[in-house]
């Protein structure tokens, strides 16, 4: 399969090379189409968001109001902070113009005049690389006033984050851009109605937008036949942990997880067995090593396997891994990154971390496992944004699949401490 997003072309990040390879032809083609036809093309291609939620991109664009006196905005989401995820960074480094071209086409389709690219602050180096590409695109009038002689004008600005995972959540991202703390907003209203500064806004992931020129160039029929029918295209799978060749592999959706690990990433370090795999970034549910045979890497297949494609960040753990410690580290992450607005997430994540730490210290009991599950269940679905769910899912799936880990580690002699009951189970006698 030919690589579409990150083809092996030296110096592709330079605008001359990009143009020589057919770059910005899709934009020229799109400018000759009606904006609605561009949206229709993307809709029919079945492109789905690469930011984690797999939402159909064309459909999302169609939510933007046509008749409005307000300015419309597009936010390109380059916050990329989900542990195990490092793909958007590769686009900034190796093929930034593909993303820029996609963003301009998206803006044209939705009648957007201003694009903000929000990039996590730690990516200082990649912000510079992106800025160079943006400057070059301005110089050639792909951006700016009346692009390529059309009546369409478009600005693209980079906005640097400052270290907060939550700012990748679309409504927190908008608050952060507005100069506030990154607090997610209650939905509805949805961004297409009430987004940046109360104006219609669409938020798309960097990789999502990078797919757009390919769809416009080759047509939806061609694109929709790549990979899994309901989730077509290629993905930039990031594979890390205990494999011989960690890195980014661009492959069609629906590739076998075992092929990704053994055929592409060179197998497990030291030829060890696999104990666990996290298939799509730290928020997704864990798979046991003995469950991965036959599992395909696309939205529907992973859902059927009880987990999710997420960001396509695969984390492999070998048989000698202290997986309880890994789960504790992940839970610590969510505790640290919780913005603190919603009580279940703010308190629950810390509570889960404390319970897990009890196990690492040899003080945990099997009642603690029930308590842990109860706390996780009470976070899930009870928060403004999905960070709470993202914290609960790894814990819930771990308890389901690796209960034996807790049993092995649980304190053998009964604790002198009274078991702590979750507060909502206490019945009040009146």
């Amino acid at each position: 399969m030919e690589k579409l997003i990150l083809p092996d072309i030296p110096h592709l990040r330079h605008i001359d090379v990009y143009e020589m390879r057919g770059g910005y032809q899709a934009l020229k083609k799109a400018l000759g189409m009606k904006p609605d036809d561009v949206i229709e093309e993307v809709k029919k291609s079945n492109l789905r968001g690469r930011g984690g939620a797999c939402f159909p991109t064309g459909l999302k664009w169609s939510f933007m109001p046509k008749q409005t006196t307000k300015p419309k905005y597009l936010c390109a989401n380059g916050d990329e902070s989900e542990p195990g995820t490092f793909k958007d960074r590769a686009i900034f480094e190796f093929n930034p113009h593909l993303f820029i071209e996609g963003a301009i086409i998206a803006a044209y389709a939705m009648g957007v005049k201003t694009i903000y690219t929000y990039v996590r602050g730690e990516y200082a180096k990649w912000i510079t690389l992106l800025q160079k590409a943006v400057d070059d695109a301005y110089a050639k009038n792909y951006l700016g006033e009346n692009i390529l002689g059309s009546s369409f004008s478009i600005e693209l600005y980079s906005h640097k984050g400052a270290g907060a995972y939550i700012c990748g959540e679309e409504s927190a991202l908008m608050n952060s851009l507005e100069g506030d703390r990154g607090y997610p907003r209650v939905k509805p209203p949805f961004p297409a109605q009430n987004g940046l500064w109360g104006c219609p806004t669409t938020i798309n992931n960097i990789e999502t937008l990078a797919n757009v020129p390919i769809i416009i160039n080759k047509g939806w029929e061609w694109y929709s036949q790549i990979g899994a029918p309901k989730h077509p295209g290629t993905l930039l799978y990031g594979i890390s942990g205990h494999v011989n060749k960690p890195g980014i592999y661009e492959l069609p959706t629906g590739v076998l997880l075992t092929d990704l690990i053994y055929k592409y990433a060179g197998g497990v370090l030291g030829n060890k067995k696999i104990k666990a795999v996290i298939p799509g970034g730290s928020s997704t549910m864990w798979l046991r090593g003995d469950e991965i045979d036959g599992v395909k890497m696309d939205a529907e297949s992973l859902k059927a396997a009880g987990t999710a494609i997420g960001t396509g960040g695969v984390i492999v753990m070998d048989e000698d891994t202290d997986i309880l410690k890994i789960l504790t580290r992940i839970t610590h992450f969510y505790h640290h990154e919780s913005c603190g607005q919603c009580t279940p997430c703010r308190e629950g994540c810390g509570w889960m971390e404390k319970i897990l730490n009890r196990f690492l210290e040899g003080e945990g009991t099997m009642e603690d496992v029930d308590l842990l599950l109860d706390v996780a269940n009470n976070i899930e679905g009870n928060t403004i944004c999905a960070l709470g769910d993202a914290a609960a899912w790894p814990v819930q799936s771990f308890i389901k699949k690796f209960r034996d880990e807790f049993e092995r580690r649980a304190k053998k002699t009964p604790s002198m401490k009274k078991p702590v009951k979750p507060p909502h189970l206490v019945t009040l006698e009146v």
């Binding site: 542990p83 960690p246 992450f333």
Partner: protein
């Protein structure tokens, strides 16, 4: 006070956003780059500059982990210890750095050359373990030998 150059940059940036509040993160970045950290006085100055309440600026500075509200060393070593790095021995790297520099996490060496902090995933999972220095350069695929070399180089400079 922001430098002449930064104030000029600020005027340019104003054209990009419909409100001045949206300039807060860009201005805080300029201030941190200029002063190395963001003091209460700097926060007051930024609040006046953008016509924002002081408490708003304070709330924003303290929300984002990359803004230093305390002075830091010349080399701010940020060690990622999240999953992918942890699986590749990040804890050893962290402990080794702390031992060599004789500091704890979130501490600065007495000569103010090094500050060591532990950070969340920096998106370098394919080249783990790694550290970032001064919110800028990434050092990937680390082992103890490479860390020793880096620390020696920085100590000399």
């Amino acid at each position: 006070m922001l430098s002449e150059q930064n104030l000029k940059k600020l005027e340019e940036l104003k054209k990009r956003y419909p409100t001045t509040k949206a300039l807060l993160l860009p201005v805080l970045w300029m201030a941190q780059e200029q002063f190395g950290w963001i003091s209460l006085d700097t926060m007051k100055y930024v609040a006046d500059l953008l016509n924002l309440p002081f408490h708003h600026v304070y709330g924003v500075v303290t929300f984002y982990t990359m803004f230093n509200s305390k002075p830091i060393g010349k080399y701010h070593i940020q060690v990622c210890t999240n999953v992918s790095c942890m699986l590749r021995g990040a804890e050893n790297i962290r402990d080794h750095i702390c031992r060599r520099l004789n500091v704890g996490i979130n501490e600065t060496t007495p000569d103010r050359t090094f500050t060591v902090t532990e950070v969340e995933c920096l998106g370098s999972c394919g080249t783990a373990p790694m550290v970032q220095v001064n919110n800028d350069e990434y050092y990937d695929n680390l082992n103890l030998e490479k860390v020793n070399k880096l620390l020696e180089d920085w100590s000399k400079k």
